[in-house]
Symmetry: C2
Subunit: 453 residues, 2 copies
Amino acid sequence: MAKVTPRTLSGFMELLPADQMKMERMMAVLRDTYSVYGFTPLDTPVIESAEVLLAKGGGETEKQIYRFTKGDSDLALRFDLTVPLAKYVAAHYGELAFPFRRYQIGKVYRGERAQRGRFREFYQADIDVIGDGSLDIMNEAEIPAIIYNTFRTFGFQRFKIHVNNRKILNGFYSMNGMSEKAGEIMRTVDKLDKIGAEKVRLLLIDEVKMLPCKAENVMDFMAISGTNAEVITALSRYRGMDPTFDEGLDELIAVTAHLKEFGVPEENFAIDLTIARGLDYYTGTVYETIMTDHPEIGSVCSGGRYDDLAGYYTDKKLPGVGISIGLTRLFYVLQEQNLLSDEVVSSPADALVIPMTEDLGAAVSAATVLRSAGVRTQLYVEKKKFKAKMTYADRQKIPFVVLLGEDEIQENLVSVKNMLTGEQQKLSAEEAASLIKAAIDARNHASLVRELP
Amino acid sequence: MAKVTPRTLSGFMELLPADQMKMERMMAVLRDTYSVYGFTPLDTPVIESAEVLLAKGGGETEKQIYRFTKGDSDLALRFDLTVPLAKYVAAHYGELAFPFRRYQIGKVYRGERAQRGRFREFYQADIDVIGDGSLDIMNEAEIPAIIYNTFRTFGFQRFKIHVNNRKILNGFYSMNGMSEKAGEIMRTVDKLDKIGAEKVRLLLIDEVKMLPCKAENVMDFMAISGTNAEVITALSRYRGMDPTFDEGLDELIAVTAHLKEFGVPEENFAIDLTIARGLDYYTGTVYETIMTDHPEIGSVCSGGRYDDLAGYYTDKKLPGVGISIGLTRLFYVLQEQNLLSDEVVSSPADALVIPMTEDLGAAVSAATVLRSAGVRTQLYVEKKKFKAKMTYADRQKIPFVVLLGEDEIQENLVSVKNMLTGEQQKLSAEEAASLIKAAIDARNHASLVRELP
């Protein structure tokens, strides 16, 4: 029979078992953390009508979209989780209670140019709070706590949540008569990290064609930094010059007021006037999250406040605030940077039960006891030499082997071997289950991400 | 702005939040149960090269497949999880340890005719054990335990795992000189449940063109039933007439020998000579799972032993055994039959914190305490009347409301109201967290599926 070469498309992540276990753990952390903040899980179709998915129209995304027909239906694969959310909220408006808080972790599709570290199929992990007509600023204040707890639970310690407010930026450009150039200025300022302040200042003058004094104004403004209190004091000097600015400043004050009660340490938080987020979409608070040791990766969790979730579907005004984690890319980066710990168990089982007699009854019973206690257990039943069985456990890094020979069966015990320490002891199956469960639980309390010292 | 009607394609399940919570719970049960039996999670792309996906070729599935081009790539959406598994094992053969045990819960796509209860996008939840060259019969013996525990953990009690062996059937047809008609006979016998024994007998004679005495033989054979021991005794009378039959009988004996040690009660298990499974694919033990009160639904978990997982990709002989649950359809049926319990918490949060003062500091702190304790907590921050806030909790069936008024803040306590009983008490935030956590844990120990008495 002619063979087809089994291959996976480029730009599509497919992990080996031990890595997949780590990915599953990241997803479990996301589900748990998002749930604890009162977000409900949603699952929308991967395929939607192209008309519905592209209702908002265009741009870069439309070129990348996977679109095709089936019968006479014009279909497309979702390219983010925001449009499906807009559709869902507009379609089910009468059946939902607002503010509506949902999380969704799902695959999205973009036919990007194939490139190392770029994915065409990737997971996004999103949360959004949607209001009906209005949405209080405190919803924006809560988001840093969610980001903080998510990344802490992953195991990160050295990361910073950068927060800005689009109204502050728009107000500042307006009071300086630069509103028309605001987009260009923001795109230039965005290069600060990469090319430095002096080059940005020159670009503002030479390319954006700003007067040197105005470019200076922008540079002075963007240089405002320090503790939250210091930044707010500095910003307060601009008060009274533009109503949008003042509104933005009040919102920023509200967002920073309760950080402590929300459990967010000040060292993991920074007001950063240089961030704006690419999309026109955002209207208030915006968020980025930077790994302190890896600023070159860019933001690993971003989002913001928007005023109109679903204007292309409904007349209802649905403002919201949300954040998104590009999970596949984050996982890829953590793997590349060697930041994923091996301490957490990533073997397919916690225990391998190895029978050493013809009759398997006792081994089956032992496996059943272990499983009832929640120990992930494999029963090795292939007819192989003892050494091959141990190699199987070794190769998969299964932490415990449970042996059942004549002696053990006669004594109604099992021999438990800790594969890490080599230690072996005879116990009842129930005792073995407790011993293994305790050891695994302890290891699984370790962080998945381990930052280098 | 012209509006596009927000709609979801027909044949695509999209659940409201409370139902989605129940679906999530079913998936959690599957992940946990499959893991406890030592299966490792896998996640393969939804999109594959059409050449790879259709390597096995055709049949009914090929007509239903979602296939399209992107650039110059001929692509398709997976229509099951077995072909991607075959691809994965063949592609990563050198990196895997065998037997390779994996589970996968993922969406698959089939452009079936739209029909109530038929889905074009649906979850399959599969497990498979793949051997390298050979695979011991004990792997087949373990499968009923996995099915039993999965359905018990869902909350089912009245279900039966039906088991047969294709070698017994093939051997029986061979010893009767009916091998050529075996396919036709099996398809006819499959109608037993629907049309009864007498009509099947007539069909065998009139349509399959069997001699009446041979049809009688088939009917007698298919009528064999009783306890495992009784069926095996009856089958033993055919021993020595066909080597394949004898092999199948030995396998059936092995599969039933350790049911008790595997923890499967005999009342949930039956040898059933009438089942064969549609596919040519299976070569040994085959499984179906029938809900006792709803036989009309057909099998809710099926599978079997096969000898050649990936022959179209590799020369390696990769025998395996696996089962699959059509999760979306199962969920749909459970909803339709009103078998999903409301006892399990399906609200977006366990507690709604309602501040009743201007300053939100105390409410934020209380929410943070609850969240740290694992209580799924929403903080209600919209500026609404008290009644509207309580209605919000009510409408979403949030079981506890935590109130913070002037008094509570002064006493450094919170008022906890149980929304089910109306009972209200003042506690510290920590005490409130313990109280709520205990109540929620108790409710979540309830079964998701509740069979009618």
